[in-house]
Amino acid sequence: MAILEVKNVGKRFGGLQALSDVNLSVAENSVHAIIGPNGAGKSTLLNCLVGKLIPDTGSVMFDGQSVLGRKPYEINQMGISRVFQTPEIFGDLTVMENMLIPCLAKRDGAFQLNGWSRVVGQQDMIDKAEEMLRDMHMIDKRHMHAAAMSRGDKRRLEIAMCLAQDPRLLLLDEPTAGMARADTNNTIDLLKQIKDERDITIAIIEHDMHVVFSLAERITVLAQGTPLVEDTPDRIKGHPKVREAYLGESQDAA
């Protein structure tokens, strides 16, 4: 069953048709990768899914409900979490506080005026946050300022923050961009572990083919704002249209 259903989505920026007629269906509990050359519209598509952009045409359904017209925080409360290309964390706060915030947001909703209760009194949330940090092997860093950590740790923390909310769909925007090979492999292992241990759907936008082919169960190739093919990794590898999109015009046309 499809948890995310994108139908006929189009988005135009002035004279640029960034997306046209995009159809995409992400099956529940699968890992779905969206790849494509620069400017193919991957990020625009992602922004349409999380409420940052509103598509001009088409529909985006998550678990049978439309996400169009909803604010990013409302879409998150529906069960979609997003990991950014450059880790977006609360740099001024400690690692522990970074973990507590998504836990509290999950429990209390989008706004809670609880100025009289105490952070140290939220024992169940603290336990949950500590458990998550332990899973991520970051428990010894809990008193550190998040901004002081290495990039790999920031990425790890951001993923942990998203997972703490038990999302049904995790969206990753080039999670290994700018990472060293070792960090990239660690991230791949982490994502594999998440996929195996949880009931979660992962949609990933990625440049790095190594990452895509080690994780994805299905791949959609996007080129010039429209899906080219959608298939399993093995078939995508040898697909002539994909080669054409990545390596430029075929020799016949030249």
């Binding site: 925080y73 506080e97 915030i101 947001a105 809670q112 005026l113 209760s117 105490r118 909310q165």
Partner: protein
């Protein structure tokens, strides 16, 4: 204790002790000595310390936690003052209804201004709040004269109805009979200590305001406010709506300002439009930054510091200066007075400005950071003074080679 961590309880205890014993602490010099002019322990000034402390504590909840820099908080101070004076005019000189209305009106007014201003952030938010405050000032000064009594300022006349004022109650703001301007003086040798009802009334509010601020700082709500300052994007994608958080912080700080305005009116029952002017808004920004934005005690220190300067430095005139340098030969005496003259008396703003620049450049965390650094220096000296000395000696030797 009181649902606080150990360190916070300690801090609250220090604040309670300082406020309760302020009449002693602020009057360290005998009344007849030459240094008596540095004494700040007279009721009028002590009340200002405490009232502006409350104002700054509230401002810090908005600016220190969320990072939204409002340049219009004096408007809420003014609204609080006008509301309180109106209660004195209509009901009685009892301060309770006056303060209640002051806080409520400031809350409503800040909800309105906050709702509009918080649609923008950063510099645009600051400009919007500044514009609103200047509008309020001009309205109070001219258009709304029937309510604010314009230029003259709102005051209480014998013709005012005062429906609930009983005959035997004092004709000055009072708490169930205890007039705010009454005081007892204690003479101790050549020292004099004044205990005023008004000061202790305000001090109780400062302690409550400070306690509430600690609770907010340590609450999940306070943590969310710090998260707003740190990364709004992440907040939105974590399922949190930042707008009501910032609005709540804005309204809470507006209510603190209203309370401060109400207390100002309770200490001296008149309210003028100049209380809402942008310089007054700027002053609370200076207090908070000077003391240390985002720290608990910083704003109180900053408020005390600035009010001390305003009242004590401003009193040092040329005569006083000549008195100080009288021991020098005439020419040098005049030269010294001429050099120092621009920095004291009416020029106290110059000294304050220089100090503010020094603090912002060298102590971005304000006076609190200065205190922490001093504390670290002393601790280091205690624990490994020997090794530090040895390191320094080694470096000197290396440099010599």
């Amino acid at each position: 204790m009181f649902g606080l961590e150990k360190r916070d309880t300690l801090l609250l205890g220090v604040v309670i002790l300082l406020t309760l014993f302020a009449p002693f602490i602020l009057n360290p010099f005998p009344a007849d000595s030459g240094l008596a002019q540095f004494n700040a322990g007279y009721p009028d000034l002590m009340q200002r310390f405490v009232i502006f402390g409350i104002f700054a504590i509230g401002f810090n909840i908005l600016f220190g936690l969320t990072g939204y820099l409002s340049f219009g908080h004096a408007a809420f101070l003014g609204v609080g003052s006008y509301s309180a004076v109106w209660m004195f005019k209509l009901l009685s000189y009892n301060v309770v209804p006056a303060l209640v209305l002051a806080v409520i009106m400031a809350g409503l007014f800040s909800a309105l201004i906050g709702f509009i201003s918080l649609r923008r952030s950063g510099i645009y938010f600051s400009i919007l709040t500044l514009a609103f405050a200047q509008m309020s000032f001009n309205l109070a000064y001219s258009v709304l004269t029937p309510i604010t009594n314009g230029e003259t300022g709102l005051q209480i006349y014998t013709s005012d109805p005062q429906y609930l004022q009983s005959v035997d109650a004092p004709s000055f703001p009072n708490l169930f009979g205890a007039a705010m301007n009454s005081s007892t003086t204690l003479f101790f040798g050549s020292w004099t200590f004044t205990f005023s009802v008004g000061y202790y009334f305000c001090a109780v509010f400062l302690i409550l305001a400070f306690y509430l601020a600690i609770r907010i700082f340590r609450s999940p709500f306070g943590m969310m406010l710090r998260a707003v300052k740190s990364n709004q994007q992440r907040m939105n994608y974590t399922g949190l709506n930042t707008r009501p958080y910032t609005l709540a912080a804005f309204v809470i700080s507006g209510m603190y300002a209203g309370l401060a305005g109400g207390l100002l009116a309770a200490m001296d029952p008149l309210a003028g439009a100049e209380r809402m002017q942008w310089t007054a808004s700027g002053e609370v920004v200076l207090m908070t930054i000077l003391g240390g934005a985002g720290t608990l005690i910083g704003p109180v220190l900053g408020a005390g510091f600035i009010k001390y300067f305003e009242n004590i430095f401003a009193k040092i005139n040329d005569n006083v200066l000549h008195g100080w340098f009288a021991f020098m030969p005439d020419g040098i005496e005049d030269a010294m007075v001429a050099i120092i003259h621009p920095f004291v008396g009416k020029g106290w703003h110059l000294t304050l400005g220089l100090l503010f620049m020094l603090v912002v450049i060298f102590l971005p965390g304000g006076l609190v950071e200065g205190g922490q650094r001093l504390g670290r220096v002393f601790r280091r000296k205690d624990s490994n003074a020997g090794s530090v000395e040895a390191d320094a000696a080694k470096q000197r030797n290396e440099a010599a080679e």
